[in-house]
């Protein structure tokens, strides 16, 4: 069963043609990795799925993105509820300059939940799911800014989980982190994949092989090859893919 279907997607920023004829399907409750050299459109693709690109005035797209059989770009689709359903973790950890508790509760609060007990319970569960609870349980009122980079990124994941999303988009979530924090995030991704559909952009081939079941290789705005991660890395069908994963360019 496919959670997300992308049909003939073309994305433009002004005159620049960023994504060209993307056709792909993202299966439910698995991890899909997007790899490819910088500037190939991976992040743009990711940000098209939760309509973050709408913030850029020159953004224009053709084609459809179907989430659970609904066109997310249809005029009657509510962007706020889409972004609740499709959470996003950014490249640089970006907690709000608020307390740890407030960071996790923020998504729930903006969606109208103000029951204190429920908020506390959700915050605790989300922090546990993000493997951060043990480190912060006695300092929930401290500023999120006092956490380390790796903790901040797990807080951002907890914040996303608290919204009870179906899909989590991760845009190079480990690129600003040290190896130990990276391992923690990767373990976390393994834990989350049973409950969430995860799409992760990464520059790190090893990371793609470690965390993902499917991989799509992007080049110059096109998907060159999509396959099970094991197959794509062991016997790539396209020459360009082979050249990229063996490090001959990129």
């Amino acid at each position: 069963m496919n959670r997300i279907e992308v049909k003939d997607l073309n994305v433009y920023f002004g005159d620049a043609h960023i994504l060209k004829n993307i056709n792909t399907e993202i299966p439910k409750n698995t991890v899909t990795a997007l790899i490819g050299p910088s500037g190939c459109g991976k992040s743009t693709f990711l940000r098209t799925i939760n309509r973050m690109n709408d913030l850029i005035p020159s953004f224009r797209k053709e084609g459809d993105i179907i989430l659970d059989e609904e066109d997310i770009y249809s005029p009657k689709y509510d962007v706020a509820s889409l972004r609740k359903k499709v959470g996003m973790v950014f490249q640089k950890p970006n907690p709000f300059p608020k307390s740890i508790f407030e960071n996790v509760a923020y998504g729930l609060k903006v969606h109208g939940i103000d029951d204190k007990d429920f908020l506390h319970q959700q915050v605790e569960e989300s922090l546990k799911a993000a493997a951060l609870w043990g480190e912060v349980e006695d300092k929930l009122d401290n500023s999120a800014m006092s956490l380390s980079g790796g903790q901040q990124q797990r807080l951002c994941i907890a914040r996303t989980i608290a919204n009870n999303p179906e899909v989590i988009l991760m845009d190079e979530p480990c690129s600003a982190l040290d190896p130990i924090s990276t391992t923690k995030i990767e373990d976390l991704i393994h834990k989350l994949k049973n409950d969430y559909t995860i799409i992760i952009v990464t520059h790190n081939m090893q990371q793609a092989t470690r965390v993902s079941k499917y991989t799509s290789f992007f080049l110059n705005g096109e998907i060159i090859e999509s396959n099970l991660t094991d197959k794509l890395f062991i016997e790539p069908k396209v020459k360009k893919t082979e050249e990229y994963i063996t490090g001959r360019f990129g």
């Binding site: 005035p57 509820s81 996003m88 300059p97 903006v110 999120a144 800014m145």
Partner: protein, 292 residues
């Protein structure tokens, strides 16, 4: 290398001298005001001077209390109107307005700050005062009229500085909030505005400084009666007006009393700055970090 080091030395000392120069100039001015004003305060008595209700130089009465109240009232009333107006305007310009609207709004608001105060005063005298007279009765010269003029005068200061503060909020916060499904307004209210608060407080302080220091435009529309105002439609006299109106002919102790007025104004501004500094500090801590 030698030459380079020497240039570095010159630049460093040169910068130090320019910094010191402006500080020395300010100190000289303060000293001058203190020396000129002190005899009046000494002779009339500090408490009498500050809390005296009667300003009658010809009778040797120098109580500046009505002017203190006048300055504070007119400043607060104008901030009461200017702060909401300019913050909403700044939020609109920084967060909501499309680029072509911004291109039109920004120079318009900057022009406002370039208009000389005598022009504002003249506009107030010719246009506002008659309107006030017909609408609310009395002479039309009042605290309210002066506050309206001051409101327009402080708008550009508060708008442009708080707009800069809003723009300085990292885009990551915006994306994080929107990415969690918050609406634009929720994002502005819950994330952007609190993060920009220290800068916004600075904007309000600078606006307040402009309002309390403005003299000419206020003289032209405030009525300048040296009495404590009993409503917002009463005429009043501010501390700065008091100096400007009488310095031309004042001699002896009267002359010193006007410098005493300047000392009082100076003290009020220092108190306001301390309060503002404290608030800025407090909200910075609340915001969680010192990133701004």
């Amino acid at each position: 290398m030698q030459k380079n080091n020497f240039t570095e030395f010159l630049i460093e000392k040169g910068l130090f001298l320019t910094a010191i120069f402006s500080i020395i100039m300010i100190l000289i001015i303060i000293l001058f005001i203190l020396i000129e004003g002190f005899p009046a305060i000494q002779e009339y008595g500090f408490l009498n001077f500050i809390f005296g209700m009667n300003w009658a130089p010809s009778e040797g009465e120098f109580g500046v209390f009505p002017m203190i109240i006048g300055s504070i009232c007119v400043t607060l009333l104008s901030l009461l109107m200017a702060v909401p107006l300019s913050l909403l305007c700044a939020i609109f310009m920084a967060e909501v307005a499309p680029n072509n609207v911004k291109k039109f709004l920004k120079p318009t608001i900057e022009t406002l700050s370039g208009i000389p105060s005598v022009v504002y005063g003249f506009f107030g005298l010719i246009v506002l005062v008659p309107i006030m007279r017909e609408t609310f009765g009395g002479t039309g010269f009042s605290m309210f009229t002066a506050s309206l003029i001051l409101t327009v005068m402080v708008l550009p200061t508060i708008i442009s500085i708080s707009q800069d503060a809003l723009k300085a909020v990292p885009n990551e916060y915006r994306e994080a909030s929107l990415g969690l499904g918050a609406t634009s307004w929720q994002t502005i209210k819950n994330i952007i505005f609190p993060a920009a608060l220290p800068g916004i407080i600075t904007a309000i302080i600078l606006g307040m400084g402009r309002a309390i220091g403005e003299t000419l435009a206020v003289i032209m529309v405030a009525g300048n009666v040296a009495l404590v105002p009993n409503s917002i439609f009463s005429p009043l006299r501010t501390l700065t007006s008091n100096i400007a109106l009488e310095i031309g002919y004042a001699t002896g102790i009267h002359h010193n009393a006007l410098f005493g007025t300047a000392i009082v104004l100076f003290l009020i501004i220092i108190i306001l700055l301390l309060v503002a500094n404290y608030m800025q500090h407090k909200y910075k801590i609340d915001a969680g970090s010192g990133y701004l």
